[in-house]
Amino acid sequence: MSSLSWNVFSGGSVTIDLEQCVACPTKACISACNVPNLGSALAAGPDGLPSLGITPERAAQGGCIECLACDLACQSDGLGALTFALPTPEIDAYLDELRAAGSAPGRGW
């Protein structure tokens, strides 16, 4: 037991640091992953920690609907053990060009 991870359809991945989850009193990510009529991607494992209720392949095909509910729930009610990484290489490259030209938006990029 160290981490749980799966890829998502749009390109990206979810990683949960299960070591941190042991101390999490809410396991909010599991209850947040509640997709009406579609079932859940996340479920509680035998040890009570988050586990995938579907296969990683199914999750990557769209079984994880990328609603980000687990991500925000972990941030607000959990311990911040979940990383929902959604790369934006083209936008990053655009911003890099703006920075190189000294015209990047200053609002925190």
Binding site: S10, L68, P105
Partner: protein, 424 residues
């Protein structure tokens, strides 16, 4: 709809057997000179941009010797044309033209069929002909089950006042042009002008646009897909944003920059803002309210069709990557879209973008959540503290478009007044 530059369109015409002038694409003035020398004079130097009326704008020039060709190329590369940089020139042998025709196959949505159009008023005269009725124009819907064989095309053009041999040659070109249209899933395949010369019919220009929904079927065209940018090249940010929708069918994230460099807002004395709307109707209504109050959306964006949270996250990053915006407006119509998912994507993007400021937006932002799960969306904004920031206002289903615009104006005025204290 993705459009092809002239030289790429002409390569499709040549592949179908339609004659085009001898030519090559160059990217430097020195190459322009050597290419012109190799082709033989006189030559035409043609700026490769997607805008129309290049000739009137100085984007097509002729040269009679190498020095002229190099000097003309230097001038064309040096200055933008209709606001767009010229990075490629098509150098072609200049044709001796007897007269010019206009030919096209276009998707006619009313007729639900391809429409073949032929006019004896080609070149720049075609628009005048459309207004004045000069010249002779014929058109016919193509039965897609049958296609456009040469004998059928000959029937279409038979009434034109042209010599019989020219009519036969024209019918052959039209049949081939229809094949270009079909084979490449075009919405328009146009040759204007199709020159009548001693060498026969020669396509002097090519305007080809591909159906958005068929782009995936044509990897060989290597199209940079971007939504509805009109007669100009897509901006770098539009191309970046187009990747979000490219391989993900779940909902849409249509993004187009209305005023990419802010020049329109500046000319009109307005303030540029970022914009996202769920549904084009509500977007238009909100813009109609914002513009009289002194704001001009730098972009249009439609995130409808129940997109994923990840799609909202990515497109929000694209909208906020516009350096000149002084605010952000999000508006939803009373749709069935699951607004809590939408809200999560926006919240995730804002938390990341404004992380150096503790997640507090440094520009005025107004959100209007009206529709399915809007109460959950509002709860999420509260839960994550986004509604408590001084430059954020969150409105619910009771708000109108006018209230949204006025709320943004009031907030922007306060932000402007406090601006020295803000790291914008």
């Amino acid at each position: 709809m993705p459009k092809l530059l002239e030289h790429r369109g002409k390569s499709l015409l040549r592949a179908a057997g339609i004659t085009t002038p001898d030519g090559r694409v160059v990217t430097t003035a020195a190459d322009a000179r050597s290419t012109a020398e190799a082709l033989g004079f006189p030559v035409a130097l043609k700026a490769q941009i997607l805008a129309g009326k290049r000739g009137l704008g100085g984007g097509i020039v002729f040269a009679n010797d190498a020095a002229e060709a190099e000097a003309a190329a230097q001038r064309l590369f040096a200055a933008p044309l209709y606001g767009w940089p010229v990075t490629e020139l098509l150098i072609e042998t200049k044709s001796t033209i007897q007269s010019e025709l206009y030919v096209a196959v276009v998707s006619d949505t009313a007729a639900r069929a391809p429409l073949m159009i032929v006019s004896t008023s080609g070149g720049v005269a075609v628009e005048e002909a459309a207004q004045t009725g000069s010249g002779t124009t014929v058109s016919a819907a193509v039965d897609m089950r049958r296609g456009a064989p040469v004998y059928w095309c000959l029937d279409v053009v038979r009434s034109l006042p042209l010599p019989e041999a020219t009519l036969v040659a024209l019918a052959r070109v039209l049949s081939k042009l229809y094949e270009v249209y079909r084979r490449n899933d075009c919405t328009i395949a146009e040759i204007n002008p199709l020159a009548i010369t001693e060498r026969g019919l020669i396509a002097l220009d090519a305007r080809i646009a591909i159906d958005d929904d068929a782009v995936f079927r044509h990897p060989e065209l290597e199209l940079e897909r971007s939504q509805e940018v009109g007669d100009r090249n897509a901006t770098a940010l539009e191309l970046a944003a187009s990747k979000i929708d490219e391989n993900d069918h779940r909902g849409s994230a249509h993004f187009v920059q209305i005023d990419p460099d802010g020049s329109l807002a500046k000319a009109q004395g307005k303030i540029s803002i970022g914009f996202d709307g769920i549904g084009t109707g509500v977007s238009m209504a909100v813009m109609d309210e914002l513009v009289p109050l002194g704001f001009l959306p730098m972009n249009f964006c439609d995130t409808s069709g129940n997109p994923t949270g990840s799609k909202l996250y990515r497109i929000t990053k694209a909208i906020l990557a516009q350096p000149l915006i002084e605010g952000y407006v999000f508006a939803s119509c009373l749709s069935s879209q699951q607004l809590d998912v939408t809200a999560r994507g926006i919240i995730k993007a804002f938390k990341e973008i404004f992380a150096p400021h503790g997640g507090a937006p440094t520009i005025p932002c107004v959100f209007s959540f009206r529709g399915a799960w809007d109460d959950v969306a509002l709860d999420l904004f509260r839960q994550h503290g986004l509604d408590a920031h001084p430059w954020v206002r969150v409105l619910g289903r009771d708000s109108t478009e006018r209230e949204l615009a006025q709320t943004f104006k009031d907030l922007h005025e306060r932000w402007r007044a406090a601006r020295p204290m803000v790291t914008a």
